[in-house]
C-alpha cells in the first residue's frame, strides 16, 4: 500500500514512524499491512500535515484528527502528530466519515464543542 503525505509550511520533521518503526521521510512510502489491522503513522518534530493519502484515497479533513503531544487533536504538533488508520482503507475511511457525520456527532459539534472520536 502506498502512503503519501505533505507537510505544511514551516514544518521541521525529524523522523517518520510506521507502526513505531522509523522509515525514510520521502513523502511517498510503500508498506504492507495485515488485512483488518489498525496501524499508525507518526510524524515527529515540529510539524503540520497538509495531506495524507492512504492507498490512493485522500483522507481529506481526517488530517485534522491527528493525535498530538498536547493532548488535543489536530494536524500540527510541536513534538509529533500521529494518525491511526485501519485496513482496508476504503472501508475504514467510509465508516470514519459516516461516524463523523452521525447525528450524535453533529450535535456534539454544535452544542458541546469538539469531541474527538
Amino acid at each position: 500500500m502506498e502512503i503519501q503525505y505533505t507537510y505544511g509550511k514551516g514544518s521541521a520533521p525529524t523522523q517518520v514512524l510506521l507502526n513505531g518503526q522509523p522509515v525514510q521521510d520521502t513523502g511517498i512510502l510503500q508498506a504492507t499491512f495485515p488485512f483488518y489491522s489498525w496501524n499508525t503513522i507518526t510524524f515527529q518534530g515540529k510539524v503540520s500535515i497538509d495531506s495524507l493519502v492512504l492507498d490512493g484515497i485522500d483522507t481529506e479533513y481526517f488530517v485534522h484528527h491527528g493525535f498530538t503531544e498536547n493532548k488535543s487533536r489536530g494536524n500540527a504538533g510541536q513534538e509529533y502528530v500521529k494518525y491511526y488508520f485501519k485496513t482496508p482503507i476504503w472501508q475504514w475511511f467510509i465508516e470514519w466519515k459516516q461516524n463523523d457525520n452521525s447525528t450524535i456527532r453533529q450535535i456534539s459539534k454544535t452544542h458541546q464543542g469538539f469531541i474527538p472520536l
Binding site: D55, W90, Q91, I94, Q98, N101, S102, Q106
Partner: protein
Amino acid sequence: MTIQLSDKYPKLIRDLFLYDTVDNPTPDNCSNYESLVCSNFGFLQLRLPFEIQIEQLLKEAQSLNWKDKSGNYVWLYGQNKPLEEKLADGMGFDVDTEYTSSFKLDVESIPAFHKFYQDINEMCPITDITLKKVKPGGYFEPHVDSFGNPIKMYVALSWPKGNYFKMYNKGFIPLDPGKAFWVNVGTHSHCVVNDSKEERIIISLYADWDTISWRKIVELSYLQRACK
C-alpha cells in the same frame, strides 16, 4: 454484487464498488413501521397507491429550463419563491431554509409533476422536492446527508445502463425508471455514479413521513419487498 469502475473515478468509489459485497437493504425481522425505521435499514422499494406517469414526468423534466451552475441539479419545489429565483440560487443548500409545501409553478406546463406532487402530498406533506441530474461521467463521493430528515424518496425518471446508486453495507439500489424507493440517506454513506453516455434524472423528495397513510404504505411495501 460488485462492479469494477474505470480509473477515471476516485479510488474510494472504485474500492467501495469493488469490495463492498454486502447486499442487505432491509432486515428481515421488522414487525411494523417503527421497528423498520429504527432498524437502520438501507432502502425499501415503495408500493405506492397510484401510478407514476414516468414517461410524462421525464418529458416534463427534460422540458424544464435546467441551469447548470454547479452542475447537477435544480430546486423545483420547496422554497416559497418563484422557480426563476430557485434556479438562480443554484444548488441552494445554504439558502434553502424557508421550507413550504406550497405549489408555486405554472402547473399547466407540468401537469404530471403536479399530479405526482399532489398524490404524495395527500399522504404526507412534502417539505422539499428536487430534480437531480447527473451528467455522463459524473459522480458524488460517498457521503451522509444532513440529519434534518434522514429518509428520502427517490424516483428515477431516466436511469441509463451504467448508473449506480451504491449504499455502503446495504447494496446497490435498483433505481429503474418509475420505481420509488425510500432511502435512509441520513444514516448510511452512499454515492452515485453515472458511467453512461447519457444524463440521468431523478426526483428526490423529503416529506413529513409520520402519517397514518404513509405508515401503511411502508408496512405494505416491506411485506411485499422485492429487495430481500
